[in-house]
């Protein structure tokens, strides 16, 4: 068993136009930025991007590769001028956006990974987030039915990875990487370093190899929320 692939292009070789893609990361931490760049370079388009916020969907939206963004922040949280650009694309019918609360998106992704087709939650009742959804009372509280969310590929970032697909994440870089691993048909992980099998402490495997199909080494690219990059 060797899940390590030679380079980024090979890692994303079968991502086709129209694919639904989960992208890990939260602000500057844990983004699969190398895989995203490779996908932009490949020219794949009409993608549905499922992610936390602008750092993950920006490359796809800027380059007109996304047909839909499903995210907790479909506006840009710090740069109103970018929010205006996105809003204009939506109004022009060039982009579809679905704003989903962070935790509900997380739970929907995990549900897919865990074989739970749907769950009830009080989150969203009485707001646009609950609109049009089935509701049911539990102990007197109105709850909405949320569905698991599917994807073809999950692009995630780990720190160390081995050929079995076991990964560790540094500090808060776990964020959505753990939930997305195994929630898509194919999970592709970029990692800082490929280590020998046995090098990762069994108690520090943050993402188990069973959820990961491909591992590729790629340097860390840090993109701060305001847009500037740093190493």
């Amino acid at each position: 068993m060797n899940k390590v692939v030679v380079n980024l292009a090979e890692a994303i070789r079968d991502i086709e136009d129209g694919a639904r893609i989960m992208v890990g990361g939260f602000a500057a931490s844990g983004g699969a930025n190398n895989l995203v760049q490779a996908l932009i370079a490949k020219g794949t388009k009409d993608l549905t991007i499922i992610c936390t916020g602008s750092p993950e969907w920006m490359p796809f939206v800027e380059n007109d590769r996304a047909k839909k963004v499903i995210s907790g922040f479909t506006s840009h949280s710090l740069r109103p001028e970018i929010t205006e650009v996105i809003e204009a694309k939506v109004r022009a019918g060039k982009l579809e956006v679905e704003t989903v609360p962070h935790g509900i998106l997380s739970e929907r992704i995990r549900a897919r990974k865990a074989g739970i087709p749907a769950f009830y939650t009080p989150i969203g009742v009485g707001t646009v987030f609950g609109e049009g959804k089935e509701t049911k009372l539990f102990d007197g509280d109105e709850c909405v039915l949320e569905r698991a969310i599917e994807a073809d590929f999950a692009l995630i970032r780990g720190h160390y990875g081995d050929r079995l697909g076991n990964l560790t994440c540094r500090f808060v870089a776990r964020n959505r990487n753990t939930e997305m691993a195994g929630a898509a048909e194919v999970t592709i992980a970029e990692v800082e370093e490929i280590v020998e099998v046995g090098d990762i402490d069994p108690e520090r495997v943050d993402i188990q190899g069973i959820y990961v199909q491909r591992v590729v080494r790629a340097p860390k690219i840090v993109k701060w929320l305001d847009g500037h990059e740093a190493v």
């Binding site: 949280s77 989903v100 707001t127 500090f171």
Partner: protein, 213 residues
């Protein structure tokens, strides 16, 4: 100033989330001798203030506003799903959130501007619905001088009937069964001035006092 007053709400032993934007400033004013445990949506408990020097920043140690921070002794890091298990499961004592508008019934609007398709809900909705107590920290009026405390929110709602307390640059207001109770006014501000900048009627507390920091 709002941040300073918010900091006084934080008591020893509390698990607290300071939402995106303005409230994160409060983390700078937490008394050092108390165990006030800050929760960040992106997966941290017990983090410290913002690090201004980028050369000292670690991108994998950021708060929910994306700013570099550091961990205090006794900290824990975890993934987003665990983080929202904490929030949605009712494990947080207090959430401090920013707002565009708060209604007299405690409805909160803080994620989308009028007429927009895009918006940033983030974890605000879960914090608003999940925390045991919700404090809104905001400027009393918007940039055009219009009241942010309104009879009915005109902006898209984040959550219904979730706000317990509003702290602004002018006042400290509690929301109860009876309505909006003005408990404190900022130094040099009169209750009449607060009312003039507030759409719904305020009930003036019998023990109205001046805000202390």
């Amino acid at each position: 100033m709002v941040a300073l007053r918010v900091a006084k709400e934080l008591k020893d032993g509390m698990y607290v989330n300071l939402g995106f934007g303005l409230p994160t400033l409060t983390s700078l004013f937490i008394p050092e001798d108390q165990d006030i445990i800050l929760h960040a949506e992106n997966g941290m408990l017990r983090y410290a203030g913002v690090i201004d020097d980028e050369t000292q920043a670690d991108a994998d140690l950021i708060n929910a506003s994306g700013q570099p921070t550091s961990l205090l002794p006794g900290a824990a890091v975890f993934d987003l799903n665990e983080s929202f298990t904490m929030i949605r499961g009712g494990h947080l004592d207090l959430a401090v959130l920013g707002a565009y508008q708060v209604s007299e019934k405690g409805d909160l609007a803080n994620w989308q501007l009028q007429g927009y398709h895009v918006g940033g809900i983030g974890g605000a909705i879960e914090l608003a619905q999940g925390a045991k107590r919700v404090v809104v920290a905001m400027e009393h009026t918007d940039k055009n001088g219009k009241p942010r405390i309104v009879k009915q929110c005109s902006l898209p709602l984040t959550a219904r009937r979730c706000v317990n307390t509003i702290i602004t640059n002018l006042a400290y207001i509690e929301l109860g069964e009876a309505g909006l109770v003005l408990k404190e006014v900022a130094p040099g501000i009169t209750p009449e001035e607060v009312q003039a900048n507030t759409e719904p009627n305020l009930i003036i507390s019998e023990d109205l006092s001046e805000m202390e920091f």
